[in-house]
Symmetry: C2
Subunit: 249 residues, 2 copies
């Protein structure tokens, strides 16, 4: 009967972490942040982590993930999908992690379970500004991500697997591209993410046959070669029901 009370107390045992993928035309990128409060603390810690935070007691988990992205990166209103829960007992036990936790968390020894989310964005829509909320946010090449803080490499691994699966079965590649794009960008995207060298002609034929692409009257500009025709994504009803039958790529 009673509406949810807003307490704004943090829940010290549950956090969210977000894997945001972008694509710059040739490489897959991941959004990473330097740890919060880094400038104010007298520690030498340049560890990168996924954007994340503890949740509030009365906050929906998905909302928490959205909030984190908005606060840390200015990215709003993103389609986020859950990866899963990560709760290893030792996930916060690296030395550097403990030092940071001791400094910033009210209950640094608390056992924390985190829920991972992932999202795909067109990287050009979210240029990271080198000041303000995005001071410590960077796009990192997926293949050049080193050791992250906490268990965030595990979360990232789970995310890339999910991304590859989705790429096969759902029309999601477009989310990583601008509104209009040449087909070869999509082709490169698939090859990059899937670590493969698909046959170009077969790929183009198949991707067009899905009906999710519509040609425009626009062409690439400023390229030192024949400009390619730009295509756009056609929103169609897509049900995951036939997910398994439907090979997308």
């Amino acid at each position: 009967m009673e509406a949810t009370k807003k307490t704004n107390n943090i829940n010290p045992t549950v956090s969210v972490d977000c894997v945001v993928f972008g694509f710059d035309g040739s490489d897959l990128k991941v959004l990473l942040v330097q740890r919060d409060l880094r400038d104010n603390l007298d520690i030498d810690d340049d560890t990168l982590v996924l954007p994340g935070d503890l949740i509030f007691e009365d906050e929906d988990i998905l909302d928490a993930a959205s909030r984190v992205l908005l606060d840390l990166t200015g990215i709003d209103n993103l389609f986020l999908e859950q990866i899963g829960a990560f709760g290893n007992l030792d996930r916060l036990s690296k030395d550097k992690d403990k030092i940071w936790l001791d400094l910033v968390r009210p209950t640094p020894d608390s056992r924390v379970i985190t829920i991972g989310y992932f999202a795909l964005v067109n990287i050009k829509n979210y240029t990271i500004k080198p000041a303000g909320f995005a001071k410590h946010v960077i796009w990192k090449d997926f293949n050049e991500v080193g050791e992250l803080g906490f268990d965030h490499n595990d979360i990232l691994s789970a995310a890339i697997i999910k991304l590859r699966n989705k790429l096969y079965h759902e029309p999601v590649g477009f989310k990583l591209l601008p509104n209009q794009f040449p087909l070869n960008h999509l082709y490169t995207l698939y090859n990059t993410i899937l670590n493969s060298k698909l046959d170009r002609r077969n790929f183009l034929r198949r991707i067009l046959k899905t009906g999710f692409l519509k040609e425009t009257d626009n062409f690439q500009e400023g390229v030192p070669h024949k400009p390619a025709r730009l295509y756009t994504f056609v929103e169609k009803k897509f049900t995951n029901d036939n997910n398994q039958k439907f090979k997308f790529y």
Copy 2:
């Protein structure tokens, strides 16, 4: 350096819930339990729920799920796979749920996030005894599951989707069957779970071609018709890497 301290304090904000699927030869079954302490409490509550419990502070989540199944059902050493985290703010707010929580939980109003797991078992290995730890445990027909407590219908929905996906891409059907089984049981299993009527000859040809089945010299006994040859599952290295290319059924 220091080994994990065992505190045995419960974590009142995180729980696990398990979806255990079984197959009886014609129907898909789910393991459900009546709520804990039902007999000792003066309430009229025959609500069924998934087996689950709060976790301990220093307990791995997966271990917690195993413990729950062992405690409630005697099922040990099961391969459990995570479904995901379920954390809706209203997931514990049905009237009957609140009454039960008030009676058995130290902090009944605590917001709880649950991690769902699922498992496949050969139903004959785990005959539920009508006494002892399994007093309130039943196998329920998947299609006859009514309204469960909490948000357990949501968890179950997520589980069945996962099961259907796995059935397409991985050799898991065998886990629901005895060591030796006639091919038609496997065929029925696929049709039941996928809600389909696969072509029988095509199914048999394809399933044999996967190389995961080996014929034995044994035949069905006690059936009022020609006894079918029994097959057994061949353990082979199976990597999910080619998950997406590989159509299993």
